[in-house]
């Protein structure tokens, strides 16, 4: 940018364009302008070139290669909440203040507890698996 100038283009500015600057400008012209000056006409190419899909842009942006401190599309996502989660019973779905220490199932009242003591092992594990809390032995 001209420092302190009035901004009107001067003859010297035009004449100062060197070969490399001209080449660079030619390369950076839009496809339409370049083809117009060279006499070809390919309008279909221009549309395909400008249309981006976000997926392609994100895949090509290489955000996992950027330094970890720098903000990018994926690391500004907010994390999960820190508020204590409410516990719901595995049997009825009511709010469950109690947890069985042996099987780690949650229950809301004594009626559910009675049912729970008679549950076979497989059923207990299947119920816990619904919550993602079952132990898998490999």
């Amino acid at each position: 940018m001209e420092a302190g100038g009035s901004g009107r283009p001067r003859l010297e500015d035009y004449l100062a364009v060197t070969e490399e600057v001209a080449q660079r400008r030619f390369k950076q012209k839009s496809t339409r302008a370049r083809e117009a000056s060279s006499g070809l006409a390919t309008t279909k190419k221009k549309k395909a070139k400008k249309k981006l899909t976000l997926k392609k842009v994100l895949d090509n942006s290489g955000f996992d290669k950027l330094p970890p401190g720098k903000a990018n599309w994926s690391n500004i996502e907010v994390g999960p909440s820190f508020t204590p989660k409410k516990k719901y019973s595995d049997i009825s779905g009511l709010e469950a203040p109690y947890t069985d220490p042996k099987t780690k199932l949650r229950y809301a009242n004594s009626v559910e507890y009675k049912q729970m003591t008679s549950m076979p092992y497989e059923l207990v594990q299947a119920t816990l698996a619904l919550r993602g809390a079952n132990v898998v032995f490999r």
Binding site: M1, E2, G5, S6, G7, R8, V21, R24, R25, K27, Q28, K29, S30, A33, K47, K50, K51, L52, T53, L54, V57, L58, N60, S61, G69, K70, A71, N72, W73, I76, E77, V78, G79, P80, S81, F82, T83
Partner: protein, 404 residues
């Protein structure tokens, strides 16, 4: 650099607010194109003249918050600049808002449209929350504003961002994003209404109007749910949907609609289409406070603000919490600012003073007014990119000196 006027465009994924920098208020348009079923031509950005808005499928240039379809954006801007604002791009400059942490490909696509297709004289881009913060600093007189420090929670169309601002600049490493916004709320309301009353899955435009008219945020969702369960009439609202012939725009049911509904039992063709809304009126905006309701493993907007605060220097945190600015279209949902204040006070450290600033003008137009301030203060002239620079150096990211 010669003096030319500047057009300030707050280019959101949902709505554009644009006007010359010399004007008082921006004009507001949806940032979309659509073709009505009854018409043969595509409309850009202005659907107020459409007769039949049923099935109006909007095509947006923004995808998930980032500009992906630059061609469509060019068409929309063409309409807005030439027919509504009536400005000649070749004689003016442009100040645009861009998404936070913008992708390089989207930046260059926008620069290409601005300089090659429109031929603007100069260009400056900045994230919208930072502009809103600048506008707020002028208006408020607190210590934090004097230091140029604020925490902006922008409840927008695609996302909700929390942006820490220090010294008038957004701190990119502190930005936090919640993947729920106005668009997701509209989609959720669409699904719920389609399950309960009428199938509106193909009508995002109508459901957005419905959401704006009927949704609110309750201070205590659990007790309101119990209240809605006990007596059906507490929150029930009948909403008349348009049919393109007799009912052109959707609205809350009126007495005339009630009479026509009764007549319609005899002649179903003349009956107005009515959807009944009950507790979804407050459960849809409730997702802003607990996104796990829809399966998002993210926290609500109160904790979003705290998590953004925790990324900055501990000395700045009390300053930022005393100057929280709530902007964005989704912040206009009735009751959201009060609920946000309550929730934020619950999770903020006890020794910090928490002040949340929100007003209707700031929510919609804050970023635009901030852009106007940038133009009037001379910062635009100092830091914009001129078309000559673009022609000489091309798409070079190191030449972008905005906000540096």
């Amino acid at each position: 650099m010669d003096d030319h006027e500047v057009v300030v465009v707050d280019n959101g994924a949902g709505w554009i607010r644009a006007e010359r920098a010399t004007a008082e208020e921006p004009q507001r348009f949806p940032n979309a194109a659509a073709k009505s079923r009854a018409e043969a031509f595509t409309r850009y950005a202005d659907f107020s003249q459409v007769q039949d808005i049923t099935g109006l499928a909007l095509r947006r240039p923004h995808e998930r918050g980032y500009l992906s379809n630059a061609d469509l954006e060019r068409e929309i801007w063409s309409f807005v600049l030439r027919s509504r604002i009536k400005v000649d791009p070749k004689e003016s400059g442009l100040l645009v808002t861009e998404p936070l942490v913008n992708l390089r490909a989207c930046e260059s696509a926008l620069e290409q449209i601005v300089f090659e297709d429109f031929g603007f004289r100069s260009y400056y881009s900045c994230p919208a929350p930072v502009l809103a913060a600048r506008e707020h600093f002028e208006a408020s007189k607190s210590d934090a504003s004097a230091a140029g420090t604020a925490l902006v929670v922008d409840a927008g169309f695609s996302f909700t961002h929390a942006v820490p601002v220090f010294d008038g600049r957004g701190l990119n490493y502190g930005v936090r994003r919640l993947d729920f916004g106005g668009k997701a709320a509209t989609n959720l309301l669409k699904e719920i209404v389609s399950h309960r009353s009428m199938n509106v899955m193909s009508e995002p435009y109508v459901v957005e109007m419905m959401k704006e008219e009927t949704c609110f945020v309750s201070m205590d969702a659990r007790s309101d749910l119990l209240k809605a369960q006990k007596s059906r009439g507490s929150f029930a609202l009948d909403y008349v949907l348009p049919d393109g012939v007799t009912v052109l725009r959707p609205r809350v049911k009126t007495k005339e609609d009630e009479e026509r509904l009764l007549e319609g039992f005899k002649n179903p063709r003349h009956a107005p289409q009515v959807a009944t809304l009950n507790h979804e009126r407050f459960m849809v905006p409730e997702v802003f406070f607990s996104p796990s309701d829809v399966g998002l493993h993210q926290c609500g907007i109160a904790e979003l603000a705290i998590q953004a605060c925790e990324c900055v220097d501990p000395l700045l945190r009390p300053l930022m919490l005393s100057n929280v600015l709530l902007v964005g279209g989704s912040s206009l949902i009735p009751g959201l600012p009060e609920r946000f204040r309550m929730e934020l006070r619950k999770v903020a450290p006890i020794d910090c003073e928490v002040n949340v600033f929100h007003s209707k003008e700031m929510a919609c137009e804050g970023a635009w007014r901030g852009g106007k301030r940038v133009v009037n203060s001379g910062e635009y002239r100092a830091k914009c990119m001129t078309i000559r620079e673009y022609q000489e150096h091309g798409l070079d990211p190191t030449r972008r000196r905005f906000l540096s």
